[in-house]
Symmetry: C2
């Protein structure tokens, strides 16, 4: 992975920077460069010491931070006449009134994701080895020949008209859903679609229904907008529709954010009959349904029921569909479908956010997604992911941990016995290079302390089996210790 390689390079770079740093520091101490005197330029010093200029820059930067040298405009670095610690008068505390409190889930989650671990079962990402990288790269090069000016051209706010036409065609052919290209908005990933919807269609003080558990960044997005969340339990059979109706009737929520197909994190799928009824309830109580559909094409047996969007005739469903996750996640292409009355409110917020998703990404996606090769890829990908799921499940078979085997998606949602506290398990797992997502992060109420999400999409079968094996060993360790307490 490019970022991993970058990381390794950065480490080597740091070591080199340290030695450059030491050399210059001693040079100054030994009055090789005098106070007030100019140091060689970054480039010159790099050549002299036979290191990259970035390495020199790092050393200079560190020396500047320590007040030993200073940068002067358009001139370069100088040895300071007298060392003086800079007093930074802005402190985080002054500015965080908004940011700190609102991103609790996100920051816990990114703390986990940030760790470089050998057994990565926390991020629901598809193993790059399962993606047709080489083929795609070659394919992509054609896009520049097809659209020689793709790099000079802005997209429109809604997104490239050709791509939206093709997607409209796809929705019809694949799902029998008739949608006009102007009812489609291309977003930079599903995250942006959720953010736009929360900004455009709800105001502070509004209420929203949300699944319990759910995709945790969605909790953050709605909280950031000042929206009160009302949790609706999701079970392998779907929701308790009486509860949903009671909520809609008494609380008059503005919207229901849902992920009804191979739900994240549970893997549960809301059955077709409930979908139809939910759309009726939405109309009756004028509650928008925000349907986030990221795993639709990642099924193991038969395809899932049609999206709720299919049953919608009155425009109450907003449909967020992500494709690029399993095609080319680096492109970050998702699509949001909404009827004109809603799109009219969302499009200006998209304009404000970034003026439209970059055209290049849309064109690459378009040309790859609608190629015949893609269907072959998805078929293979399903098989590969099912094998991984099976590998994880057979390793877990004798643990006494509970889960409902998902028929699609990238995750297992597990309930652990009471004598294995998930937080303790996570703490120890991370220290041994194993990562997963604790249930509490996915719960809008912050509970579900006996649950965890394990993603089987990133590691190959061998590593998955080994990672889960080690995780079980840690759990056994905790159980034994607790028995002796």
């Amino acid at each position: 992975m490019a970022s991993r390689r970058g990381m390794a390079q950065a480490e080597i770079g740091s070591r080199r920077a340290n030695s450059v740093y030491e050399t210059i520091r001693s040079g100054i101490k030994e009055r090789k460069w005098l106070p007030g005197g100019k140091l060689p330029s970054v480039r010159e010093m790099g050549e002299r010491m036979e290191v990259h200029r970035l390495t020199v820059l790092k050393a200079y930067r560190q020396l500047a931070e320590e007040g030993i040298i200073e940068a002067k405009y358009k001139s370069g670095y100088y040895v300071k006449s007298h060392s003086m610690a800079s007093s930074e008068s802005l402190h985080a505390g002054d500015w965080d009134y908004k940011a700190r409190s609102l991103y609790v889930n996100r920051s816990r989650l990114s703390d986990i994701h940030r760790q470089q671990v050998d057994y990565q079962m926390s991020e629901a990402l598809i193993d790059p080895n399962l993606l047709p990288n080489a083929y795609l790269s070659n394919y992509v090069k054609q896009v520049f020949d097809l659209y020689p000016r793709v790099l000079s051209t802005y997209s429109t706010v809604l997104g490239d008209p050709e791509l939206r036409e093709e997607l409209a065609c796809f929705f019809l052919a694949k799902h029998g859903i008739s949608v006009h290209p102007d009812e489609l908005l291309i977003t930079t990933g599903s995250q942006q679609a959720i953010d736009l919807v929360s900004r455009a269609l709800a105001k502070p003080g509004d209420k929203a229904l949300i699944e319990r558990p759910t995709y945790s960044p969605a909790i953050d997005a709605f909280h950031q907008q000042g929206i009160t969340l009302l949790p609706v339990e999701i079970a392998p059979e779907g929701y308790d529709l009486d509860e949903v109706e009671r909520f809609m009737k008494t609380e008059r929520p503005r919207l229901f954010y849902m992920n009804p197909t191979y739900q994240n994190p549970t893997g549960y799928t809301v059955p077709a009959a409930q979908r139809k009824r939910l759309v009726e309830l939405a109309e009756k109580y004028q509650c928008l349904l925000v349907e986030d559909d990221v795993y639709h094409d990642i099924y193991f047996g038969s395809p899932p029921p049609p999206p709720l969007f299919y049953y919608d005739t009155e425009g109450y469903v907003l449909y967020i569909r992500s494709f690029s996750k399993y095609v080319a996640p680096g492109l970050r292409i998702s699509v949001l479908a909404a009827r004109p009355a809603l799109m009219e409110a969302i499009a200006p917020v998209k304009a404000l956010s970034d003026n439209g998703t970059p055209l290049l990404n849309q064109k690459i996606f378009q040309h790859y997604f609608f190629s015949t090769r893609l269907q072959e890829h998805v078929v293979k990908l399903r098989t590969a992911l099912e094998l991984r799921k099976t590998a994880m499940e057979s390793q877990l078979a004798d643990t006494g941990w509970h889960w409902a085997s998902p028929e699609g998606g990238l995750n297992l949602w597990l309930r652990l016995p009471r004598d294995i506290p998930v937080d303790e398990l996570l703490r120890r797992a991370l220290s041994r290079s194993i990562a997963f997502v604790p249930g509490s992060i996915c719960d809008p109420l912050g509970g579900m302390n006996d649950r965890m999400r394990l993603s089987y999409s990133y590691l190959n079968e061998g590593k998955l089996a080994e990672g889960v094996h080690r995780l079980i060993a840690i759990a056994d360790e905790i159980r034994v210790e607790h028995r002796f307490l």
Copy 2:
């Protein structure tokens, strides 16, 4: 341009769709397909009529909209048993309480931009003919060989570490500004940076200073956040610093959004002495300076003074720098520099917005921007743009219209004689395929009705001369008519 070509294709497509539409409609009328009966699939009908499936889809969609046929899930299109108009129960009025009022400037501006005109002097875009498209396309292909998994990899929230390292190096080498890579955030265009700053660092009810006139989407971004704007006049010599200090002292604004170098729309540049003093005032009154620097490298004589960010030692300046505008606007790469205390508040909002700018765009930008070829390109570009500016100015020489000749940037800011109402001029100009931006859109107070912005960056010299010539003719026409009223 890809989008223009797309547009032309769409028109041809519409004509074809009309004939397909007519054929099917008559077929139904003539009971070739019976009520309740299934129509041929989109693909089949396309083959039969020798048209693209999108063309058929359009015709089917139109017939469905008219209630003549209907789509059924996973089955296809059917002739309706009885025609029935659909009653859409969601109306724009229900949802626009937020969107409508907040995007007044934006919607007026996009109404103008949306028009396809021959003499495009409204958008401050660089003519794609001035960008090294072919070279860049070939260059870009190498990125896929260098980073074979760039399409499978997500960026970190702040942006690619290598790119941020290179940019830190650039800021030091070019401006003598020492900035740590973690004080840099890569954004999808400058628009996103402004949006993030307004969301992360201000809350509804806060006050902010803004230049009068200014970049109009910034007005929208701050309004959307519920911020009260206090206008600071900008003149060819800069601001009235006594006025700025009075505002800071009495109104305690949270921030000052500014565009001090070849300002949009005026082209004015705030002199170095004022920059230094502004930073002192910002510290004294604890008012953040949000410095939007989009045209820094587009100068015609000597380079502009250093950014305000250069004078900042206490962390009060947020610096937004855009490069991709004149390199590859389609990439949408900008960088926001902010000291740690502020970055800590901004990064979570970026995570919420889109989880990080796509890696692909960052890698392409990095490899091109730091190539030697780029500097050669920028030098040529400056000359070309200066020639265009001169062409526009000589055409305007005898009009009696006033402007201060800008030393950089893409725009002329003109004051027209009282007997030529700018709104009337715009109305007539648009009807004759000439577009420009009326001053009122750029004024946070909605005045400046005798001003206009003419961009000289998009048309070549010949077209510019012709466009301005025609515009003057329209103005003369108006003047003559008014004389006879």
